[in-house]
Symmetry: D2
Subunit: 275 residues, 4 copies
Amino acid sequence: MIKGLTRSGLGVFRDDEQYITRAAQFGFQSVDLDPLELIQQYGGDYSKHLLESNRVIVGAFGLTVDWRTTDEQFREGLKSLVETAEAAVSMNCFKCCTYILPSTDQNAAAFMTTATRRIRLCADILGAFGIRLGLEFVGSHHLRTKWTHPFIWSMADTLDWIDTINSKNVGLLLDSYHWHTNGLDVQDLLNLKLEQIVHVHINDAYKVPIEDLLDHERLYPGEGGINLVGFLKSLKTIGYSGVVAQEVISSTLSQDSTELLTRSKTAFDNVFGNI
Amino acid sequence: MIKGLTRSGLGVFRDDEQYITRAAQFGFQSVDLDPLELIQQYGGDYSKHLLESNRVIVGAFGLTVDWRTTDEQFREGLKSLVETAEAAVSMNCFKCCTYILPSTDQNAAAFMTTATRRIRLCADILGAFGIRLGLEFVGSHHLRTKWTHPFIWSMADTLDWIDTINSKNVGLLLDSYHWHTNGLDVQDLLNLKLEQIVHVHINDAYKVPIEDLLDHERLYPGEGGINLVGFLKSLKTIGYSGVVAQEVISSTLSQDSTELLTRSKTAFDNVFGNI
Amino acid sequence: MIKGLTRSGLGVFRDDEQYITRAAQFGFQSVDLDPLELIQQYGGDYSKHLLESNRVIVGAFGLTVDWRTTDEQFREGLKSLVETAEAAVSMNCFKCCTYILPSTDQNAAAFMTTATRRIRLCADILGAFGIRLGLEFVGSHHLRTKWTHPFIWSMADTLDWIDTINSKNVGLLLDSYHWHTNGLDVQDLLNLKLEQIVHVHINDAYKVPIEDLLDHERLYPGEGGINLVGFLKSLKTIGYSGVVAQEVISSTLSQDSTELLTRSKTAFDNVFGNI
Amino acid sequence: MIKGLTRSGLGVFRDDEQYITRAAQFGFQSVDLDPLELIQQYGGDYSKHLLESNRVIVGAFGLTVDWRTTDEQFREGLKSLVETAEAAVSMNCFKCCTYILPSTDQNAAAFMTTATRRIRLCADILGAFGIRLGLEFVGSHHLRTKWTHPFIWSMADTLDWIDTINSKNVGLLLDSYHWHTNGLDVQDLLNLKLEQIVHVHINDAYKVPIEDLLDHERLYPGEGGINLVGFLKSLKTIGYSGVVAQEVISSTLSQDSTELLTRSKTAFDNVFGNI
């Protein structure tokens, strides 16, 4: 598996160059970032050089299309989706991700029909570029009731949705936090087929009942109560060899990236050392 | 347009033969029934003879597949779906219908993903036989909250769902009662495209606020407060020339079919006489 | 029906402004053009002004995506497809067209699988903007054997393909020349459903056996042997009220647009005067 | 991997019971057969008992729907498809297969559109039962020109077709003979993803140029010139652990099933002993 980073939980970087360079310095092999922004900043050649000279790959990029609100907003994003897909391919990145909020102020059934159609179109566009789309289920309990109507938050419902979307290149973004907040165990991971996983996020949770865990107060891998060794071992068992990217969403962290990168490195060494 | 009947609001018939014969006697040109049951009772030849000698067609048949509960129940119905489709084709009937309950005890978003997949498969099977599938939105307000979570009940949401199902042969079953309970007007019908309508139900409602109308207490066309002349004129304007089938769901009716057929005939004469 | 033009058979215009202005002067109500190029030349506001002040609409635009060669070429065109769709919507144009060559040097079956996937993606992108895609079958006999393997050229096969593509917004671009070269008659048009027609081209053919007609030697409407009055009457009967755009492909025409517009006006007056 | 049989190359069995029993006696762990016929002969319970007491599973069953000729023929088969799917599930078999003839007397492109639609419907029906559908490419050179127009015969074109069919449960039936007649090597297998393989056939070919190999003159594994050890090793490397079923199509074999089973056992022992 490839040790990766997202920007969450790393403080502030001056720019992508610093993000990439420092990721490499601390032993990470991939970064999640927007490949279109990267190229717009540095040009294609220098972007490639930056990645290659640091032996860092782009792990995945976020779906920038707004599939949650109006048709106008949705259409607005399609042009940049194509541009971003082109940019991603040129950076050898073939994974795109988006997350599913577990409740909604819209009528849940009606929103689901719209979302299905929109996500399918995004997936089909990405598919033309050989890019897969990972859908992240978000299990945090407080978010399940934050908006009026329950939407979906479980792995099973997300897989069922993926079935209905019916595009071959759609799978899961599996986040250890939501595996945990859903009360799942290693067997649930072992039941997955490799092709169902597009991307993986890792982070840890306070040792409190899962009902009380807040989505924006996460810990570095190994610092909390999630069975991350079991998580990684299970993924390995079913053949996953892709990126495992840290995503520590937290409002209480320092902004000192050196300190946070050090903490991240220690976290990864601890957890990966035990699998 | 073709004046049609369903069994709702007609009391009890001895069998399909009586249903067909009496429909003809009272001037109706179509009956909604199960073509497979028809053939199983009378054989294909006599069934055809029954229809032709009475100059009655089969308007539409109900989808017997259970798409609302378990995968097992759903699969169970697929075999008879194929048989029913064959039977329908042999009786020259190319319309199948099902209704959407406006609330559900299941998670609405998750149920919508499952329902989308199941309805798509039913539609695709029917499509192989040239049969269209009409989805009926049910607007009755008391049913919107009868089960835990709101599902969909509006024409707009149903059309959106049809878009997502993405099978060419799926459209609306338009029922005057639900046009009314949704607070729609003639312009909403005039905005429809002909190909969006698969089948039409007609019946009337008590003159009370639409919020208070009960789904199972309907009136015969012209006896209540729905603008049925406007309803029919609008359908005619957009080119609809198919079956308009009476469906008077009511728990308080007599079971005397002669009396009820007479009442139905009067109702149709009144309403159709004014368009 | 709306009398329209394409640039084929009109000689050379200085620019789109002249094309639009002169179309209007000669009584035409629509022009087929590239809405993105239009806006890039004149900006959105002036483009709208040009169209509105001349009471001319954009009839349809050509699909610029290359769906016939490599995946790279195909992807290359997707970005401008989104941009063109946006431009088209802003000019109130909701029709896009492409044509099908009747033979191919590729393995015909393999090319068909690729083409199906690519056209479906284009259609789905266009669908997000409410735009329909018309596929034009090309019946010219000499083109059926111009390349190694037969592809498809009949209306029936094209409708069958549209069924398989399975996107609701795909239909036919019906060209009178190919209706003629296919040996079809008015009944074949009367059998169509309105929603199967996206766009219509009109032009005429020399009075020779259809096997001898060359694709690039067409006549103005009414100058040749096609039953164009029957063609238009049939379209009217099934409810078509959209654009009928002249497309006179010919290598032997003068380049004097005044002369050719005069000839076009006469042609339309003759043919439309008789329906 | 599971050592399996098909009936091809085994002479005549009295019935399925003998087929199953003798397969077990000669060390085979699976048989390809029609689960509906099995149940119709023996009933569900005895069928299960037959399989379980012999420790034999049903490897795969053939798609009995005729997707190659008329719509009527196609529809005709849909009912038994559902019944067969039910039967297969009750026998714990989740794999269905069909083969693609490499040439056709129909217009190849038009046939491809029809075939795509039909195969998609079959796959979607099977998918409702959790059954996957394997498409077998047939590379035999003499069959590529046996009918008027070339269809598809390569693994790449078949994978491309599978992409276009766009049902998640469709993949390859990989037959060593056609891997060989296509001139493919082990790297082509190593490039496959596990989920692309539904079922595997094994048999051998005479040591003549692949252009001269006849489809109906095959040898038992290890008796000919195909690199079957490389074939199996590659499948193992990419994680395939399913059934490898012998299919020796030959018009010159004896009908003595004991002799042929003995030859099959020796063949499997030789080949599997070397991986």
